[in-house]
Amino acid sequence: MAEPSELQMLRDSARRLAADCAPARWSSAGRTGRSDPARWARMIENGWLHAGLDEKLGGFGFGAAEAALIAQEAGRGLLAEPLLANYVALSLLVEAADTELGGQVAEAVREGRQKLAFAYAEPGARFAWEHPAAHVRREGNAAVLDGRKQVVLGVADADLIVTVARDEAGELVVLLVPAAAPGVEVQGFALVDGTGAGDIRFSGVRLQQEALLARGETARAAIERALDHGATLVCAGAVGAMRAAFEMTLDYVKNRVQFGEPIGRNQALQHRLVDLLRLIRESEILLAEAVAAMDGDRVERGLAVSAAKLHINAAARKVGQEAVQMHGAIGTTDEAAISHYFRALTAMGVLFGDAAHHRARFFALDRQLVAQDTRCPS
């Protein structure tokens, strides 16, 4: 299927900018969890934050495919900026908030005036989210939020935090919390791949009525979709990073001479490289299906996303490990680019759900499908 020319332009622009920024994650992004404002400004300039938005919100109108495409190029170039955090938080906000608020925030993000983060994971909860410990209680007209969130991508940069809690009735709620509000404490740090993240403590944070974006089943559906969106973008980044790591490794084995010949002459390595290429091709295929399913039925979407994440987590691990192994000792040092891809692929296998999580989810959805399936073979 041919790519629309707008998407092609975006891809080219993204690849150029990514190449221009590299090497981006060298020696970790530091200890603050904050990203480089100059690079963010260039992404804004290039229109990257229009991606994934509806046309009436200033987007290009290609939906999930756009954001996935940029995430893929960002993965290829190891960009450390909080693109994923903003894509996911913004699309959740736009879906859940009223048109006016959604439009305002979308514009502010597009223009680089505000940054967002999406906080769902809680300490000790791994990937569970349907029963958060964070909670809001009413106090007069205000809602008061308490709780903790951990390893929130881009939170040290964020002006607004989209987060998840339960209310006094035990219902899920989606909340929009200004990062500067009293009672919001953020500890920023770098992740193992050099991207920025942080933990959050909400202590009696007073929120106004409009902070409540969604509640109950609406909230549940919106969060689930946001998590699928996040997982898909991580998959896209991993596909980009795997491709780059693979090409780098292929190049290395063609040039590195040992025992008198390029190590790529070793058939054992050749066959393993074919296995890696196969894993990457399957990843690309499953990613495309996940992206295509993003706007579809909940069960089909979940199956496609969990299938992709499940496969890509394992592929990312394998490609990262094998790329280092084939590089030999140099591959284990910070000065080698491949070690940064390895660290990026390590993180990607965890973000928005590990293999065990997505395997269990795929199975649950698959059983729903089997139970629903009324098409009996003759």
Binding site: H271, V274, E282, L310, D366
Partner: protein, 397 residues
């Protein structure tokens, strides 16, 4: 899968009705169990398909086929698989047919294509030779010109269903050249020609599908030669990619998945089911995800095939993954059956018919399937050879 157009819906409905009406229940049971149908069962089914011109379902209208769209061909495969009808025999319609159509002369087309369209003639493929394995260019069977004929001497092996075949398309060596791919000629041979002997090869599951075929001064008219003498490798290569995709057999894999699903959902003696055992659940999920990736990949390859005429070397990876998945599904189902997978009747190439502790229906050919599927990663170019091809053609190593 996007929503089907009314035309495609009608096509599927028509096909389903046809299958429901025409598919012999015995044949259906054999296919559902993943077993080996008899020749008579298959011929009856093919005869029926031919009345609707669906036997050559991949052929364009121009070539006398039904001219189905790629989506319809996909739906055809899917519907056939869902309803446990046998897959159409690729030897005639995907190999002999296309090569005769592409490279044969008008007389050859007139002689052979009608039999393929109507399913009245069975074909077999004479490529592999003893000791050559995946090295197909190592053709040693000689054909020496003698007047208007060739005299063929030598031996072919792993010839699927040679004992059912009326005709063989084969590679012979007509001259010795430095480059082994040269000097190979492509012949069509009537299997009733004197001097041809077919010897069965019994597989490790007990089934007889393969054969050795011996040629002892077999006289083949030169008019049975496809294209030029010495150019046989070109025509053979044309088919190799088809063959690789053919071995993948998505319908077969979907059947295998249905058996796997049955094996883990059957209630055990204590009422529990293996599907509630995460050990089996995890494996089943991984198999299903692999099938998703494979289906996507096959679809891309078929698209390439339709666009570019022939699939690229990626098809080697599809062949590897498809055959491995087929094997692993059989292994999974065998594991789910546990003790029930062990009793084995070698002469029937199937489970023992047991009275005291009957084997479940879907389980009767599971073990046989596990055994004979080992050949899938060997035939049609072994996994190792496919990896060598990818390494060279795609990776440039």
């Amino acid at each position: 899968m996007p929503k089907l157009s009314p035309a495609d819906q009608a096509f599927v409905a028509d096909l389903r009705a046809f299958i429901a009406e025409n598919l012999d229940p015995d044949l259906r049971a054999v296919v559902a169990a993943g077993g080996h149908p008899t020749k008579a069962q298959l011929k009856a089914w093919e005869h029926g398909l031919a009345t609707r011109n669906w036997l050559v379902y991949t052929w364009s209208a121009e070539h006398g086929g039904p001219g189905l769209t790629p989506l319809q061909q996909f739906l055809f495969d899917q519907t056939i698989a869902e309803m446990h009808a046998p897959s159409n025999n690729g030897l005639a319609i995907k190999m002999a047919g296309p090569v005769i159509r592409e490279f044969g002369n008008p007389e050859q087309k007139a002689q052979h294509l009608p039999g393929i369209l109507q399913g009245t003639v069975n074909w077999c493929q004479g490529y592999s030779e003893p000791g050559a394995g995946s090295d197909l260019a190592a053709v040693a069977t000689r054909a020496e010109a003698d007047g208007n004929d060739y005299i063929v001497n030598g031996q072919k092996i792993w010839t699927s269903y040679a004992h059912w075949a009326d005709w063989m398309f084969m590679l012979v060596r007509t001259s010795q050249e430095a480059k082994r791919q040269s000097g190979i000629t492509f012949l069509l041979v009537d299997m009733r020609t004197p001097g041809i002997t077919v010897r069965p090869i019994v597989a490790s599951d007990g089934h007889h599908g393969f054969n050795e075929v011996f040629f002892d001064n077999v006289r083949v008219p030169q008019s049975n030669r496809i294209g030029e003498e010495g150019k046989g490798w070109t025509y053979a290569k044309f088919l190799l990619s088809n063959e690789r995709l053919g071995v993948v057999s998505l319908p077969g894999i979907r059947h295998a998945l249905a058996r796997a699903e049955a094996a883990v959902t059957r209630p055990l003696a204590d009422g529990s089911r293996l599907i509630d055992d995460v050990d089996f659940t995890n494996r089943l999920v991984d198999l299903k995800v692999r099938l998703r990736a494979l289906e996507g990949w096959v679809k891309q390859s078929l698209d390439e095939l339709l666009e570019g005429g022939k699939p690229g070397p990626e098809v080697s990876m599809v062949k590897i993954r498809g055959t491995e998945l087929n094997q692993d599904l059989a292994e999974f189902t065998m594991d789910a059956l546990a003790y029930d997978a062990l009793p084995y009747d070698f002469e029937q190439a199937a489970s023992v018919a047991r009275d005291i502790a009957p084997t479940p229906d879907f389980g009767t050919t599971v073990t046989a399937g596990y055994l004979y599927r080992r050949a899938f990663t060997i035939l049609g170019g072994s996994t190792e050879v496919q990896k060598n091809i990818v390494s060279k053609a795609i990776l440039g190593l």
